[in-house]
Symmetry: C2
Subunit: 364 residues, 2 copies
DNA sequence: TTGTAGGCGTTATCAA
DNA sequence: TTGATAACGCCTACAA
């Protein structure tokens, strides 16, 4: 049995053998081969074996595209992510990919780099390529009116972020509650001048976290001060950029809740560079609890969002809708966990030697 | 013009309108629509407009799958990555994704988690889904004999890693040369007992880096000592795991070249935890220069591999082969850069205040 | 410049 | 239990 050099079937063409080739080789009709492929019990054992063997020797590969054309569901899920250089979204992407494999789906991936134009292109491209559904973490400033028609008729799950005016399923963390608890912790540690740093008001997620921040202030009867709110890009540089304004406040802040960990770390580094002892002199809490938060100096306190689980849940929801054919929007909120480390200066009011993980699942 | 609720065409079925629908709506034949789609100049301007408008109102979406079936190239590239929790491979994946978008390809992604069985499954799945080519960073312990038939007839580029016995195109960094220069730097700084930490002998990449390490020793007339070589997993834990043996050597080591940065950082943390002052008492150089290397304390010296460029080059090579139809294996080696930071104790022999980036491109 | 007639690889339907 | 035939949506001739 000398293996053919490059596995080409009998067909000379593209090098891919078809069920017709297999049928020919096994001495049956292509219908029979199709039955074998779909695991039908109608086919005789002997026939099945002949066919299977023919497939092996020909190096036959099933052509899902053709099957899809005929009517089958497509088995491809699109995954459109705004920023893969952010470890949080990478973690989410891993969760998505993982869940797809479990469900025998295969994910297209696209990194929009927060570029709405590119996002439009890739979404269209994914539809053209036959994606059965979409997991979407939308880019900032997405024009909903242009995106909406591209999405019609297919199930979409927005994950982590969501667009105002785009009615799809949503999988997101309990942002408001997480921010509320983090702020409350800072207050309980003695802080009263707490800044809110990062993101832009147009981001729905920020609105949620900001709402939690204000709620906690209210609950503690601390008046809200707009001069403590800073809008910046949600990256390292953004966090660093606010330091001049932050340190020049007439009534200085003593702590900050940051939109996410990346901003928090940027802020931490910049503060350290300008001589502020983060943790002792200034408390910081981030959001997301990315891997790096454990390794900064001092270690960063954070509202932990299980990014991988978020991705997994999104795909599971999508697959469920795909299976049932019912694309009715549905919202899943995932609980957050407040993780206290050294960066928020709990040392002032509590022993801070070990990592006190306030296991505070909010709902159910 | 009241937009139809969910963009369904006239066809009742799956909700997707076809060129026939468009043709009908525009009052032309489907061939004409096809010509419009392919941007042919044969069609009258007025007709083209009518067709374009019909497509818009019907929410028509091009069905690439059908076109592929008819004979066109598929426009899909598979990207099979061994470990997406390693930031290095994430960076590479971003490069791959980016280059795909530029070339109007769309990448399937799969994370094999170093699991050869899973890898076999996803490769098969990608073929079934019609991937035109593959960018592969193979899992450890991949059984070449089983993988090879699945790859036949399609262009494959192995990136970063490569499998002994699998003859495909390759895009890789100049591992041997990079390791040689890193080791030479340690030697020039006065070290003579230099450990080599991480990876397993079966990994081709490690063989290359190890060869560079030995070459540098030879060039400096330092006898090779096998007790200084440690095989471990290529993750944080692996780096940490060698500390007991490393510190118990009869003739202690004073420095280490690590297989990659993740191992190096694991080692660094574990050494720090056991009271060794990395940088002053013990020199460490990693490999890859991941983002995190800049932020460890002390900052990690590393042989910089431009992961994103590696991914980009791989896709470019693949696209070139796809375009030409010539799948003849080709090898591209990318130069590395030795980046000196605080972790390798250059302070002993040189001023180390600023980041001395030894810009030492090896070839052209 | 536009229309007609296959055919790509698969599955569903109906006969044999 | 197996085989023939007609779609699925598109593209490439070729004819008008």
């Amino acid at each position: 049995m000398n293996a053919r050099m490059d596995g080409q079937g009998t067909k000379g063409r593209g090098g891919r053998s078809t069920i017709v080739d297999v049928a020919h080789r096994a001495g049956v009709s292509k219908s029979t081969v199709s039955l074998v492929l779909s695991g039908s019990s109608l086919v005789a054992e002997a026939t099945r074996e002949r066919v299977t063997e023919a497939m092996a020797t020909l190096g036959y590969i099933y052509h899902r595209g053709a099957a899809t054309l005929r009517g089958a569901k497509s088995g491809v899920i699109g995954m459109v992510i705004n920023d893969l250089s952010n470890p949080f979204f990478v973690e989410m992407a891993i969760g998505i990919e993982e869940a797809c494999q479990v469900g025998a789906y295969i994910p297209f991936i696209a990194n929009t780099v927060e570029n709405p134009v590119r996002q439009l292109q890739v979404v269209r491209s994914m539809r053209e390529h036959g994606a059965a559904g979409l997991v979407l973490s939308p880019a900032l400033g997405t024009p909903v009116a242009e995106l909406k028609p591209l999405l019609s008729g297919m199930p979409v799950v927005q994950v982590m972020r969501r667009l105002a005016g785009l009615k799809t399923s949503i999988v997101a963390p309990e942002n408001k509650d997480g921010a509320r608890r983090a702020t409350a912790h800072l207050i309980a540690s003695g802080h009263r001048r707490i800044a809110f740093v990062g993101g832009f008001d147009s981001m729905v997620v920020r609105q949620d976290r900001f709402a939690g921040y204000r709620l906690a202030l209210e609950e503690a009867d601390i008046p809200f001060d707009a001069s403590l709110v800073f809008e910046t890009m949600t990256n390292y540089a953004g966090g660093g950029a606010v330091v001049p304004q932050l340190t020049n406040l007439r009534e200085p802040a003593t702590a900050a809740l940051c939109f996410n960990d990346v901003v928090a770390i940027g802020l931490m580094r910049a503060l350290a560079a300008s001589g502020v002892a983060v943790g002792r002199e200034f408390g910081i809490i981030g959001f997301d609890d990315i891997e790096e938060a454990r390794h900064t100096v001092p270690a960063l306190s954070s509202v932990a969002v299980n990014a991988r689980a978020l991705g997994t849940r999104a795909v599971q929801l999508l697959m469920r809708q795909l299976a049932s054919g019912d694309f009715e929007p549905e919202t899943i909120l995932c609980p957050t966990t407040l993780v206290i480390r050294a960066s928020c200066g709990t040392a002032l009011s509590a022993p801070s030697n070990s990592e006190a993980r306030t296991e505070a699942k909010s709902k159910d």
